[in-house]
Symmetry: C2
Subunit: 424 residues, 2 copies
């Protein structure tokens, strides 16, 4: 065990040392490294697929369910699509080196801020082996070294992919050590990894809410990752009914298992009689179960085809991650704002309204990472927001909020050009 933790610390140290060089590596070398990775994913596909085959067979033998197995599995077309994603990141602008707030002070000092990488990113993820490539590429493009800790069930695939990345980047002249892979999947080592704040500047867990909460509670370094995300959509009395139906359907049904899907529908009493049955009818076609407060039940109960359940206290502020929605009728915008303030988790919140002042109040007063007017909360995503790539979603306020792109994997330093200046 002691030897294993020493090896782990050695990997952290190597990543830290590499990160010093990575910080001022040219964009050309970084892009070349990424293109090498994409090339090798295609030329070394037989090797990768053989390793993955081994993982899949072992997983099948140990009784892994079909959905998990599908996440674990690689094939030629998946590798091609991963390679394509790598080239997409290569084509994005390099955030490192951007200079901003540059100005000359009255005393003649020229001063500004220059964007630099954070240093070393740690990550822990579950069965999907593509994360090995995905997170490596995002870290490298933003000039960060990375320490990867993948799931036990994908160990052969991950070893092959990490080895591929290490060879590909070395060929481009990137410092050795920039990508470290923890090949010992002993669970007890994870707590050591999460305490290595001397070597790891930021930890990004990728996987289910359980993993993220575990990392948040145990990491000694800052952590970025969406915890519980409770999303509300409020249909105001002035809402356009067609928009309300389309938006609530999309927000609940398009991909119910993700963090930006609708959890609670709030609807103004003046429009509920007309609008709520139409929302419910659409939801019903997709099999949505509705946990309704009393007034919503009264409006909907005539339609026996709906899956209605009386709401309990536990339904407010709950993240369902399934085809279930809580529904509450409110008397005013203020009541909706209070509900969101009380039960929201600072993730994604939307209003559907044609009333200008209601829209502006909602945008101003709701405290959340992403606040929408007349759009589905499903848009919360780095790609959809035009960031090119997404590292994670942040539900915290410090450093960065909402979808995180390459720029959010950076910090800055102050640069000061003097001519013998001393402080009076």
């Amino acid at each position: 065990m002691e030897k294993a933790t020493e090896e782990l610390r050695a990997k952290g140290k190597a990543a830290r040392e590499a990160s010093r060089r990575l910080a001022y590596l040219s964009t050309e070398i970084k892009n070349q490294a990424l293109h090498n990775i994409a090339d090798d994913l295609l030329t070394k596909k037989d090797e990768i697929l053989a390793a993955n085959q081994k993982d899949c067979q072992e997983a099948k033998a140990s009784g892994m369910d079909a959905a998990m197995l599908d996440r674990l599995m690689l094939d030629k077309s998946r590798l091609e699509s991963i390679a394509q994603d790598v080239r997409t990141v290569a084509a994005l602008p390099d955030p490192v080196g951007e200079v901003f707030d540059m100005r000359t002070l009255p005393n003649g000092l020229l001063i500004g801020r220059k964007r630099v990488p954070l240093g070393v990113i740690g990550t822990m993820y579950e069965s999907r082996p593509n994360v090995t490539i995905d997170i490596s590429v995002l870290c490298l493009k933003s000039g960060n070294a990375v320490v990867l800790r993948g799931g036990k069930e994908a160990i052969n695939s991950n070893l092959a992919l990490a080895g591929l990345v290490q060879a590909a980047i070395a060929r481009a002249g990137m410092p050795e050590g920039a990508v470290q892979f923890v090949d010992n999947t002993d669970r007890s080592l994870v707590s050591h990894l999460l305490k290595m704040s001397d070597y790891i500047d930021l930890f990004i867990p990728r996987g289910g809410a359980e993993l993220i909460i575990f990392v948040r509670e145990n990491a000694a370094m800052p952590v970025v990752g969406a915890g519980v995300s409770v999303c509300h959509t409020y249909v105001d009395r002035s809402a356009d009914v067609a928009k309300a139906v389309a938006i609530t359907f999309n927000a609940k049904v398009q991909r119910p298992s993700v963090c930006n899907a609708l959890d609670t529908l709030l609807i103004h009493t003046n429009i509920a009689q007309n609008c709520l049955p139409r929302i419910a009818a659409e939801w019903s076609k997709a099999g949505v179960e509705m946990h309704c407060d009393e007034r919503a039940l009264t409006i909907l109960k005539a339609d026996s085809t709906l899956k209605l359940v009386p709401a309990t206290k536990k339904d407010w502020g709950k993240e369902f991650l399934a085809l279930v929605a809580a529904v509450r009728v409110v008397d005013s915008l203020d009541e909706a704002l209070e509900h969101i303030e009380r039960y929201g988790s600072g993730a994604d919140e939307a209003i559907v309204t044609e009333d200008y002042s209601a829209a502006m109040r909602f945008l101003n007063e709701v405290d959340a990472g992403c606040v929408y007017v007349n759009a589905s909360t499903r848009f919360t995503d780095g790609g959809q927001f035009g960031l090119g790539a997404e590292v994670a979603i942040s539900t915290q306020k410090m450093h960065a909020r909402g979808p995180l792109g390459l720029r959010e994997l950076t910090s800055y330093k102050w640069i000061v050009f003097g001519d013998g200046h001393v402080r009076p």
Copy 2:
């Protein structure tokens, strides 16, 4: 004890509730609140000074030393100067509400980021009662609520000042609860305060390094504050000797007790023979003790008026906070960069050089909050950097680095204007 922690949590809760309203309060109301504080500092000066008198008498009786006593003491001219500082903050631009990265996406969604306050700032500070006003004003201007925990020895002054602030801001229409003062100075309550991450978003310790390290190690929420700051100045072989002498004198002598003062002088061997004795002679006039490596000793030992001590390993990477400097002769810029990489703490680092490429390499390769060419590290300060006011200095990379102004007490939210948009 249980009652005391309940009271503490009630204060946290009240601050959290107030922060929701503060977040979208107009700049006019915030500025009016600040002007009310400045006015009251003058009109209620007798009350404040009487309370402060009580603290000073008790401190004197308990044997407090003269320097500490001076920090604790208020008088009419100090109150006037504090009031003036408050008006200076009132005159600064409001960071809240700034909209940036706003653009229309190909699908027609209008999307951007809007600056918002962090929420609730916690702070703990030592004897200087002016911090009660200083930090309250910076938090309020940036739309944050604040929980104040001052030192026991200033309790009467702080109670009077906190009461003044609370009354002054209420008169301007600011939410009650925006400023909370912990009047129970029981030390065991501090650990409870530092665990209240549900109510406090960021903790800013103000005081000595010991206090800051204590808070860093015990706080459950993010902490901003300079820990150990080891500052190097490297005099390159191509340095202008007059600039080198002026800059190293200023960096070491102008205020040796602060975090941006010079700790280690690195000097290129080609210039050391000529330049080092001149730096040493100036330092000597101010009483600086020099902890020299062998080569520096050889150069300087002829001058018997200098305070020379052979350097030991412990001198490298040490923050002296006194009229002491470590001195090392290096053979190259690379050796200087390696020394800084190994012993630096990411605070303030400077090069003195007339060589363009050396300057650019230093700026690019040194990983620190503030990197200087031909200027004294003493400039690291919110006021000197043109930020108007300074909340703290950050030696971390996440969120913000170097001197923190009002903007660094904020986060942002994404705002999205749609027209019935749904995700395909």
